[in-house]
Amino acid sequence: MMTQVPASGTEGAAYAAPDRPSPPLRRRSPALRKAFPYLLVAPALAYLLVITLYPGIFAIYQSLFVVKFNSWDWAGIDNYTRLMKDREFWAALGNTAIIGGLSLALQTGIALAIAYFAYRDPLIRGWRIIFLMPMLFMPSAVAFIWKLAFNDGRVISDLLMRVGIVDGNVDWLAHIWLARFTLIVADVWQWTPFLFIIFVAALQGQDQEIEEAARLDGASWPRIFWNISLPMMRPIIVVAITLRGIDITTMFTNVYIMTQGSPGGATETMSFFIYRQGFRMFNFGYASAASVLMLVMTVIIAQTVVKRAFHSGKK
């Protein structure tokens, strides 16, 4: 639980302090003293404002125009009214929610299960390295692994045929749910480790005695898990799921490499929709309008869910 940070720090300071003659006591003006913390955060803050606020304002401005190459034609809120009637936009929003939601639920369940079985195991260090590996591949590499396994190399179909579940090659891109399934598999495979690592740390950090007492009272392990471990981990689970949930809603790489949104847009996520409108069809104004709507949703989620999650996580 406790890191060795403070200990090593004490040591360093103890050795460093007596060597130097004490410098004369500094007197700073009260104004500077007050401004000092602001000066410290200012560079980081300025950098982030340029990279978030500027694009935000630019996107709002651009969303009011029809942009074709270098000509900007005033369009008022036309882009937004068009978006509201655009079935592809709503489909992208729905797909992001469906694919992201199922994927998040699945990886949370798996991560909880393996974390619960692994955290007290003597081989935990080994398990941790093995379970971590999928996360350490570049996302584009992971997308190619599953593109090859599902589509191009027919490996999954072959394996399923051998077990007798299907009786022929499956075209995973031909059906809405099959295509979504491939994206979910790729995401779950790569990112379950993220949650697993955090859950294991949470389980190892909890008070073992309560659990031990319950076990001696004869409680079964599912009950111990459900009634004791899970409630104690709750704040950490919330933080982990929030962070993962945010990342999932930005899903792009897998869609770009594995499905390109097919069949018929059933796997197009919000990120891919914006990319396609902007950089494939060059409707930059339209893409910006979609960005602005996504930004508004992000700000709402950040202000409600995330703020609360991080406050409870810190306790």
């Binding site: 913390p37 560079p43 978030t52 590996m133 350490l136 591949f137 590499a141 396994a149 809603t249």
Partner: protein, 280 residues
């Protein structure tokens, strides 16, 4: 006592079934992909998958002769290392202020920095593309460096802040009565004391930067600025289709150093991944 032993035995069997199956799910695709890297192209896309290939180094020869792989690697290293340096320079003072000073708006500033992590790359993609185009930075490593730094700044700041909060106040107070200034304290006491946090933050930021895809795809349009991550997606050699064996090989070339880095910071990983919210 007997019943305790019995439930222990049962859950042990179940435990190893669950852990063993998930280990197989993790490892088998990786091992199979490794065989893809060492097989000729004719054995990749076949009507019947070939599980045990005729080993070959075709992909390696292809990589070293046809692709400027050294260039991609150099771009990746330069952009990633540069971005981490920018992050540390900006984040250490910011984290110091956020963890050590009482000032008006501290919570809001901290939360604003955190919230930039939640911005989907796609939201800012179009404006950032125009911004870099106007600055003449499209298709340069510099642009990648700046954008990676921006993506990871929130994460680096929050991780370091979390480690700084752990440092006991007495340390500074002692130095302060000796007359040390705030910046001296930061340099001589705080930074050495939270070095594990700084290293953790740097490693995690580097991994996210190596993996970054969407911005790199938009900013880098030729091999001049391609990084490994995006070069991979462009190994689709036109009429030749996707060149999987080369992709597999490059994936492992990037995987090994990342694995080593992560093993080195293993103890701090959970804390780093939650931006300091979970103390592992």
């Amino acid at each position: 006592m007997a019943s305790v032993r019995k439930t222990r035995g049962e859950s042990l069997l179940l435990r190893y079934i669950v852990l063993g199956s998930w280990a197989a799910v993790c490892l088998l695709p990786i091992l199979w992909f490794l065989t893809v890297g060492f097989r000729p192209r004719t054995e990749i896309i076949t009507p019947q998958p070939i599980y045990w290939p005729n080993w070959s180094l075709d992909a390696w020869y292809l990589l070293t002769s046809d692709w400027p792989i050294a260039q991609y690697l150099r771009n990746s290293v330069l952009a990633v290392a540069g971005s981490v340096v920018i992050d540390l320079i900006l984040a250490i003072p910011a984290a110091y202020a956020l963890s050590r000073y009482e000032f008006k708006g501290r919570e809001d500033i901290g939360f604003y920095i955190l919230s930039t992590r939640m911005m989907a790359p796609a939201i800012v993609a179009v404006p950032i593309f125009f911004l870099f185009r106007n600055m003449g930075l499209l298709d340069t490593v510099w642009a990648l460096m700046l954008i990676y730094a921006a993506i990871n700044l929130s994460l680096v700041t929050w991780i370091i802040r979390s480690y700084m909060l752990d440092i006991p106040k007495e340390l500074e107070d002692a130095a302060r009565t000796d007359g040390a200034g705030d910046l001296t304290i930061l340099r001589e006491i705080i930074v050495p004391a939270c070095l594990p946090g700084i290293i953790t933050a740097a490693v995690i930021a580097a991994i996210f930067a190596i993996n970054e895809f969407l911005f790199t795809l938009l900013i880098a349009s030729t091999s001049k600025a391609y990084t490994m991550s995006v070069a991979l997606a462009n190994f689709t050699g036109g009429s030749d289709g996707v060149i999987y064996n080369a992709i597999a090989l490059v994936s492992f070339l990037a995987f090994v150093p990342i694995l080593i880095l992560v093993i080195l910071i293993q103890k701090h990983l959970s804390r780093g991944l939650t931006m300091g919210a979970v103390k592992g």
